[in-house]
């Protein structure tokens, strides 16, 4: 054994060596004694759970770790009692600041030289990023994912579980970017149908003919190219929930067919002769004023009343400014995880700019602003220079304090128009680009332009 190897061997017998190794690995590791009390807690465990080593050591593991499985079938106890090793079991823990964190755990017994069990060791890996990406792809969110501390949401929180438990049709009304899909998903997950599918259809994104076959499906030979039967969204959502987004954009023809499904719970696929039953709960959403559409004969009154059984109005972000800091914290956390960054806070000036802004694109716009800022921010604190230019340019010159901007609907309308115009000018009136910047859908931007009387300048229209 060389001198160097001998030194390493001696060092490895020092208890501090083990601690150094444990602290240098990326997975959380902790050990418990026979009573289930924590005896060691590495650095990654501190970072994932939020509890410091000093707080954790000496406590019962289930009081620190707070995994859902701790209260049902403690894996460490099982391992200690049966010698059964648990590998990569997925559970959810509650961190010190009450965030639910998905992790995968593995356990093993610790035995002394005489073969006596003296405790157990648990290693765990943070799966937040994977789960977050899965959520974003699948669009499935839970009640617990709603972030709000505002009074406006209090009543919604109170009634949402009861609404979810019923099987009634729900109409979600709110501006673009307020989180209608999140609410629809939360209603599904709180309902008796939560084990069934949650299927989304954007009624505004498909032309009438396509939408009909998409909703009701078609039979082989129904039209040229229909070589096999295709189930519609109603069939796919069987036993679950069908979320009809932008329901105000439905054509009158499709509205009649949808009305029939809502009234009789039955439909016929295109080219089919057999009527099919629809065991589906409908949650519809719109950012349009349906009453106004009914008055203008663009939306059927009978369908409106069928959809408007239980109505939830989701307030826009400008009506609940107290939620802005909470949402900022939430998005910083999510984006840090997603982008592998360590941005901790916003400077006072940057925060003030965000608090004073009126968010025509609502929560989605706030999220996009923060994503923009985090891409540019190289340190731990977001500064005004990291924010999109349209915020910092307009704020000191034109944006009065929030109290004044909320003085009347007209002022608000002007502010919205001003914000949209500013983004449009910056993007040379390219709607897709401007909509992306605002965090709203292209068609929503188009509708807002129409409502606010914003027109594409002729010179731009010609050049495009």
């Amino acid at each position: 054994m060389s001198e160097n190897e001998k030194d390493m061997w001696d060092a490895s017998r020092d208890p501090r060596w083990t601690s150094l190794i444990l602290d240098s690995i990326g997975d959380g590791v902790f050990t418990v004694d026979r009573e289930g009390k924590i005896t060691s807690f590495n650095r990654a465990a501190e970072e994932i759970t939020g509890f410091s080593r000093e707080e954790a050591i000496g406590q019962y593991c289930h009081e620190i770790f707070r995994a859902n499985i701790c209260f049902e079938d403690c894996p460490l106890r099982r391992t200690a009692q049966t010698k059964e090793r648990i590998v990569n079991l997925e559970v959810t823990i509650l961190s010190k600041d009450n965030r639910e964190i998905p992790i995968s755990i593995s356990t093993a017994q610790i035995v002394d030289e005489q073969g006596q069990v003296i405790g157990a060791v648990e290693t765990f890996r943070d799966l937040s990023l994977i789960r977050q990406l899965q959520e974003e792809v699948s669009g499935r969110y839970r009640f617990e994912d709603i972030v709000s501390r505002s009074k406006a949401f209090s009543r919604i929180f109170q009634v949402l579980p009861d609404i979810a438990q019923s099987d009634s049709t729900v109409l979600l009304c709110g501006e673009s970017g307020t989180g209608k899909e999140l609410f629809a998903s939360a209603i599904h997950n709180l309902s008796k149908r939560c084990k069934g599918p949650f299927v989304k259809v954007n009624c505004g994104a498909l032309p009438e003919t396509l939408l009909e076959s998409e909703l009701f499906g078609y039979k082989r030979g129904a039209f040229t190219g229909a070589v096999v039967d295709k189930p519609g969204r109603f069939k796919i959502a069987e036993g679950g929930t069908l979320f009809l987004d932008e329901v105000g954009d439905l054509s009158l023809g499709t509205q009649v067919k949808l009305l029939r499904v809502l009234e009789r719970k039955e439909y016929e696929p295109l080219g089919g002769i057999k009527t099919e039953r629809a065991d589906v709960r409908i949650v519809a959403a719109t950012n349009l004023d349906l009453e106004e559409l009914v008055a203008r004969k663009r939306f059927r009154e009978d369908l409106y009343y069928r959809l408007n059984v239980v109505r939830i109005d989701i307030p826009p972000l400008r009506e609940r400014p107290e939620d802005i800091p909470l949402l900022i914290e939430h998005f910083l956390h999510r984006l840090n995880r997603k982008m592998g960054k360590q941005v901790r806070r916003l400077s006072d000036k940057a925060l003030q700019i965000l608090l004073d802004y009126t968010y025509p694109g609502n929560v989605r716009e706030l999220q996009n602003i923060l994503e923009h800022a985090m891409i540019l921010c190289k340190g731990v604190e977001i500064q005004p220079r990291h924010l999109p230019a349209y915020l910092t340019r307009r704020t000191p010159l034109t944006s009065p304090p929030r109290s004044q901007t909320l003085a009347g609907a007209e002022i608000l309308r002007e502010k919205e128009k001003e914000a949209i115009l500013s983004v449009l000018q910056r993007s040379s009136f390219r709607l897709s680009e401007a909509a992306k910047d605002l965090g709203i859908h292209r068609s929503t931007l188009w509708r807002k332009m129409k409502r606010l009387g914003i027109e594409k300048p002729r010179s731009v229209a010609k050049s495009q």
């Binding site: 019962y60 707070r66 961190s95 617990e144 501390r149």
Partner: protein
Amino acid sequence: MKVAVLRYRERVAPRYGFSEDALIVDLVGNEARDQEVIPLRGWFPYEIPKLLKEKGVEVVIAGGINGVFQEMFRSFGIEVVWGFIGTPEEALAAFSMRGTGGWRVPCGRRRARRRLGQRNRSFGKEVK
């Protein structure tokens, strides 16, 4: 003032959704009067705020509790004090001293009075 301590195995429940029962205590000054235990098993987490409101509870003491459920309690006019690790007695004593403000960290390294082993939950015990 009626204070409810959410419990799990006779300690403050570390996670709201797994509370076994609620110990409701009528606090008069620092003195605890009239105690009542309400079983919570079988209730959905979002039903509990209403249940405790009907019992006249004004403050809930919890371990870990998700923000949405905190808001649900607040929407019923119930204050939530969270982050406690220990026994309900310790929690109530700390609450009497500090009230609802500024208490957001676990009480620290208090030793449990009862050992897991006494409750037949000891580790390393061979299962036959």
